[in-house]
């Protein structure tokens, strides 16, 4: 629908035209679930899907922010523009957050080829925020050549980046654990690329060997074998190689059915998730506001009907709730 650009809402038009303030404000609106962002997000979808979305994930303290900065430097030297989203956790207690990913970003005050946005997870599990995917699309539609997404310092099951990124880099450091850790389910399953950062530290060779063993134990169903790259950002090492591996993976996606297959899977997850949220909101509203259904809740509280039965009735619109 790109031929209908004149029909874009004003904010969407501004974003496409490179207005960074409009982009920043729309990102806020998306994060806040502000209805004003709704049309903008919808109208820009057709302009996304062009930039590779590269996710960096891994436990806290492995150097994700420093690697992002190094990759930004590499990409800028290649003449590519970069949109970055750095996600950090929100407090489960106060909702507050300290977003510190920006601190590693090298001084680029006058470089308009980089747009960096810090984002709080706001209660979302899995290592990214609810808004991360849509915001990465906004950056894509704004024309950035590559989108980098840095997750929250991840635990073993924080794999949500998989639903957003076309290439996922799992970052580890030496001495994170023995080779059995690499066999465990979760984080290590989603790597398109393994990055052993702080490769200047002792134990790096062992860490790489353990990962190499994991990789040879059995390939991915797609036929892609994740490469293992050693990097350091102190004395910059392996950054070019890391980026070349990203390119290689993106090319692999294009040369096989994997790009389409992955996209279909991610979009299906997204559509069902959005629909579920929508229906969930409706049901919450009904249960709490609809007088006939509030009665349903009373019945469950009083142990007269059970939650499963109440759920059945809620979905059916409460026609038999009385």
């Amino acid at each position: 629908m790109t031929g209908f650009s004149s029909r874009l809402p004003a904010a969407a038009r501004a974003i496409v035209d490179g207005d960074r303030r409009a982009l920043a404000r729309t990102i806020t609106a998306v994060e806040n679930g502000d209805p004003s962002a709704d049309r903008v997000v919808r109208s820009l979808y057709a302009r996304s899907g062009r930039a590779p979305v590269v996710g960096l994930t891994g436990p806290l303290g492995v150097g994700k922010s420093s690697l992002v900065n190094a990759l930004v430097g590499r990409l800028r030297s290649l003449g590519q523009t970069v949109g970055v989203i750095g996600v950090d956790p929100s407090s489960p207690f106060t909702g507050g957050s300290v977003l510190g990913d920006r601190i590693r970003l090298e001084r680029r005050a006058d470089d308009t080829g980089v747009f960096f946005r810090s984002m709080a997870s706001r209660g979302a599990a899995g290592g990214v925020a609810a808004a991360t995917r849509e915001v990465s699309r906004l950056l894509d539609a704004a024309g950035f050549d590559v989108i980098l997404v840095e997750t929250v310092g991840s635990g073993q099951v924080d794999v949500a980046i998989r639903d957003i990124a076309s290439t996922s880099i799992v970052v580890v450091v030496p001495h994170l654990g023995d080779e059995v850790q690499t066999l465990k389910a979760g984080l290590f399953e989603i790597a398109d690329i393994f990055c052993v950062n702080k490769v200047d530290l002792p134990g790096a060779e062992l860490a790489k060997r353990d990962l190499a063993e994991l990789v040879t134990l059995g390939g991915r169903p797609s036929g892609w074998t994740p490469p293992i790259v050693g990097t350091s950002t102190v004395e910059p090492t392996g950054i070019d190689e890391l980026w070349n591996d990203v390119i290689a993976h993106e090319k692999f996606l294009d040369s096989s059915e994997e790009r389409t297959r992955g996209e279909r899977k991610r979009l299906s997850t997204e559509i069902v998730g959005l629909a579920r949220d929508h229906v969930g909101r409706e049901l919450t509203h009904r249960l709490e506001r609809d007088p006939s259904l509030r009665h349903l809740l009373d019945e469950v509280v009083a142990r007269r009907i059970d939650p499963r039965t109440a759920a059945d009735r809620l979905v059916r619109g409460g026609r038999r709730a009385r």
Partner: protein, 140 residues
Amino acid sequence: MAKGRVAKKTPIRVLIAKPGLDGHDRGAKVVARALRDAGMEVIYAGLRQTPEEIVRAALEEDVDLVGLSILSGAHMALFPRVLSLLKEEGGQGIPVFAGGIIPDEDARRLKKAGIRAIFGPGTSLEEIVTTARSLARRSA
């Protein structure tokens, strides 16, 4: 939008940055932590930021508020520069507050220039949080 959507309270976003060349960021960190505990999203930009970098971060991050911390004595040069750049870049509506070692006479002049609040040593965190919240809410 679904009718059932309830308007959520959106967190205040605040940038905490240290312009100037002194390396004493403990105060900035204490304030960042206090604002976090008050439920705000604090973008911590860290040490030795130029006014250009601060303004750029404020605009990209679309913050409701900017807090500057300085102990080097260069506030009379750096704070007005942040304010004028913010204005140039269309961010004049973003309130700026400051903390650090700032003599009373300078503080008066800086307030006149548009710094909305200045906190010296000994200010309670409660006062900072309350002021930050009211500045951010008024600008929204």
